[in-house]
Amino acid sequence: MTGAFSSSSDAGGPPVVVQLRGVGVWFQPKVRGIGALGRILGRGGRGAVRWALRGVDLTVREGESWGIVGHNGAGKSTLCLVLADILSPDEGVVDVRGKVAALVTLGAGFQPELSARENMLLYGAFLGVPRATMVARLDEILAFAELAEYADEPIRGFSSGMRARLGFAVATSLDPEILLLDEVLSVGDRQFRAKCRARIQAMKQRSRCVLTVSHSVTFLRQITTHCLWLDKGTVRMAGPAAAVLDAYEATGGESAGV
């Protein structure tokens, strides 16, 4: 459920950009065939569910950069999907005030038979970028992705790195108010990764707030002001980045670089 909070939640400090109250998302073990049909028809009850998120509260104010940490299966990516309005919570309220760009799975909509240029137009359409805007940016995006000479080649022949570069270049050509990053900085070679970091820094400066999902404590220490530590779908700790990351590291959280 999404909804607007009262203005009282904005009182004190910069305006609230993202607010979550008691957010919960459950998944069910995979069931196929008639059982699954019964489930989607809403018959036979919900049965056993696994809560990927439960009772998550979060308030992000303008200018803040939040990191989301947690071990595998903690619910980080599910939270990202909820924030991006890809997945609706099963309980609680989500209020996101602004245009969100989620850099989650880059190049997910690419069609192998189509050329890089055609795929960029299609990907842009999925992202909600008007066609005219996308057409005007094509050359710039291709140049950033270092794929200008392959613009009219079907991407069937592209390596996974080339596809990821193209996806990153299109997705980061937007000017979002809220930026969501989910482990996307491992695109391409070392040189291209440096380019990606520079572009994301530039996007961060233009956006109202940034939320970054990462396993890397070192990286999050560099770029975040606050952190949310998720553990088995619930909030273990939230607050200033240094305190949360120290506590997370003390329990064996990863500290490898990007």
Partner: protein, 277 residues
């Protein structure tokens, strides 16, 4: 982002891009390219004509010109059957995308129906051209009934879109739906007057049961929207005849119900389906 009509309208650029990319992808990697849009229904018609008229010696004496009589039914059914089959797998085939970008996912089955409709239009163009070059001896000479064809197409689109929206959801949770649907579609085609005319059904029914029952059974048979669509296209193009008002009413009601029910089903399951991908 939910799949409301408002969101789909707001993202019409996406719908147009999906249709264009689907059409482009269908011709990419093929030497004849878009020529297949015209060639494919003609070849399909030749296969059926060869079997029904050539091997079994049926059809040509009763329905003239039989190849065109067959052609329009095959093209119409192909649009429906191909759209349904593709829609069943469309959400699953785009699961990575659905999990990565917020967009009204209902655009996916709608784009399947719309791009398939472009192939149908190409086939229909061939049909009208062939009908002009190969006029039926049963044509009234009136051209105005041709104007019924676009209205039939709108209703055909509504019925197909309604069914496709519903099966797109259920295709996610029932992996066997594609297999089940392929058999149901085959049965559906042979039960519809594609290879034969409604007159034959009426004749057989009248021969087998008392008059009041025969009338009832024939009316029930015509409740199949494709019975009206096939007959309607033939009347409009091959015979220069007007479709009965009762058939228009029945078809419009069925199209409205299909579209509404399909949309409501999609709306209801929109966000739930994500968890099964």
């Amino acid at each position: 982002m939910n799949s409301s009509i408002r969101n789909v309208v707001a993202r019409r650029d996406l719908l147009a891009a999906l249709i264009a990319s689907d059409l482009r992808a269908s011709t990419a990697g093929s030497r004849l390219g878009w020529v297949w849009w015209f060639l494919d229904p003609v070849l399909l018609m030749l296969v059926y004509w060869g079997i029904v008229a050539g091997v079994f010696g049926r059809g040509s004496d009763r329905y003239e010109p039989y190849p065109l009589f067959l052609f329009v039914a095959l093209a119409t059914w192909k649009h429906f059957a191909a759209s349904v089959t593709k829609s069943i797998g469309v959400l699953r085939s785009r699961d990575r995308l659905i999990k990565a970008i917020p967009f009204p996912t209902i655009a996916l089955p709608i784009a399947v129906v719309a791009s398939g409709f472009v192939y149908f239009l190409a086939a229909f163009g061939v049909f009208v051209l062939a009908a002009a070059l190969w006029p039926s001896t049963r044509h009234s000479g009136a051209l105005l009934p041709l104007l019924q064809a676009p209205a039939l197409m709108v209703l055909q689109l509504a019925i197909t879109a309604g069914v496709c929206m519903a099966v797109a959801c259920y295709g996610v949770v029932v992996p066997d739906l594609r297999m089940i649907a392929s058999h149901l579609l085959r049965v559906g085609f042979y039960l519809s007057p594609g290879l034969y005319g409604v007159d034959l059904v009426r004749e057989r029914v009248a021969a087998g049961m008392p008059a009041p029952w025969a009338g009832l059974v024939t009316t029930a048979y015509m409740a199949n929207p494709f019975a009206i669509l096939f007959t309607g296209y033939r009347d409009a193009v091959l015979h220069g005849a007007w479709i009965a008002p009762a058939h228009w009413l029945a078809l419009a009601a069925e199209a409205g119900v299909a579209l509404l029910v399909g949309y409501r089903i999609y709306q209801h399951h929109d966000r739930r389906v994500f968890k099964f991908l």
